[in-house]
Symmetry: C2
Subunit: 212 residues, 2 copies
DNA sequence: ATTCATTGAATGATGGTTCATGAATCGGTA
DNA sequence: TACCGATTCATGAACCATCATTCAATGAAT
């Protein structure tokens, strides 16, 4: 005996709109399930069977929405990084013209988003090497896009004469690593300080380098 | 047909000293081979068969020296971190009494060692989550021991009145992340600057926060 | 009736770990 | 010296388990 016994009822009809919304929902369910499992166990320990169960569908269906397992990993990681890429620059825009305020605002938002997804950040660090060349390229691109506003703000401050001349890209890099650091070294940092304290202390330390 | 065909001639005799030296040599060969493979392919893609071949011995023999595959991983990572733990504090001791000079010396050495083992550092970041609880504890301990001299030097400078009062542990943390960052974000940093330039620029930025 | 979504057992490949087998070396003995 | 168990070192094929991926069969919608 074999083959399908109970097909899950389709969520909605066959119209293009219905189809598109079903595709979105399925993809989201898969990614949500996969992310939850990977955060707990890691990519290699995650079986597609487990993802299917957690997402409430069959294994075969996952392959309708993603080419293969690695493709799922890529989508999970990209999802996270896209949130950074969208949130951080937006926060800086809302901070007005002052480069210092922009940096403070952007860094603060960056840290907050990271704090909310600490596990996912660790996942991205751990598993991004599992991706193929194209996947890694995409990750690097997203990371660059996220922090370029930092670089630009520092450079603007220097040009205006508000900051000491320093390598703007390196300052941006340090802000990024400091934000990532809250997730990477949470075991070391969190026992001694809250997120808010961390943000303030780091802003004080890292932006002191910009003072004339 | 089956079972052993050609046993490799024993390197030396059965005396305690000979035994100990053989054990050391075997362990070293296994770790060298395993590290090389993992750096290229990652832990999960590394087969014990491949390690055995690269180390010039049989699979079974590896299990005489390590309990299992994860045990090999732990040993590889611990090896790297122990080098940091030994080198960094030593470099600071050789820098005399000035806290600033100590920090500069320690950070510089830290970065140099990391540069020499960039792949291994990435490996440690990627795979340390694969370890069990005890393994992760050991890693955290080694990391703490490595950078505690940074914290102590900063604190000493503050106490002496040479530095502005800042959270010493956070400065130490930032120096560590900046050193790790040379490996983690080499793709971003290296195109624009050499290791020496990176060290100088980072010292300038990070220690500016200490100026009165 | 046709088309598309969905199922899940079967396939095929991989690889960690064990262990029966054989070689090398030893201390003791004649 | 020459030989003999006993002991330790070393081998690698076989065992067993785990999955990623496929695809023929089935159900629902039109």
């Amino acid at each position: 005996m074999s083959k399908a016994t109970v097909a899950q009822p389709r969520v909605s009809g066959r119209s293009p709109a219905a189809r598109e919304s079903r595709v979105r929902a399925r993809r989201a369910a898969i990614l949500r399930a996969a992310a939850a499992i990977m955060v707990r166990t890691g990519y290699h320990e995650m079986s597609m069977q487990a993802v299917a169960e957690a997402a409430g569908m069959s294994v075969g269906l996952i392959y309708q929405y993603f080419g293969n397992k690695q493709d799922v990993l890529r989508a999970v990681i990209v999802d996270i990084l896209e949130e950074f890429r969208d949130e951080v620059p937006a926060a800086m825009l809302s901070a007005g013209d002052d480069p210092y305020a922009q940096l403070a605002q952007g860094f603060s938002r960056f840290c907050r988003v990271i704090d909310a997804k600490r596990d996912a950040v660790l996942l991205a660090y751990r598993e991004s090497q599992t991706l193929d060349g194209a996947g890694r390229e995409e990750i690097m691109r997203l990371e660059r896009e996220t922090i370029d506003p930092f670089r630009a703000a520092v450079q603007a401050g220097i040009d205006v004469g508000a900051f000491r001349p320093v390598p703007a890209d390196l300052v941006a890099h340090n802000l990024k690593l400091a934000a990532h650091g809250w997730a990477l070294k949470h075991w070391d940092l969190a026992p001694t300080r809250s997120l808010e304290e961390y943000v303030q202390e780091q802003l004080d330390l890292l932006l002191a380098a910009l003072a004339l």
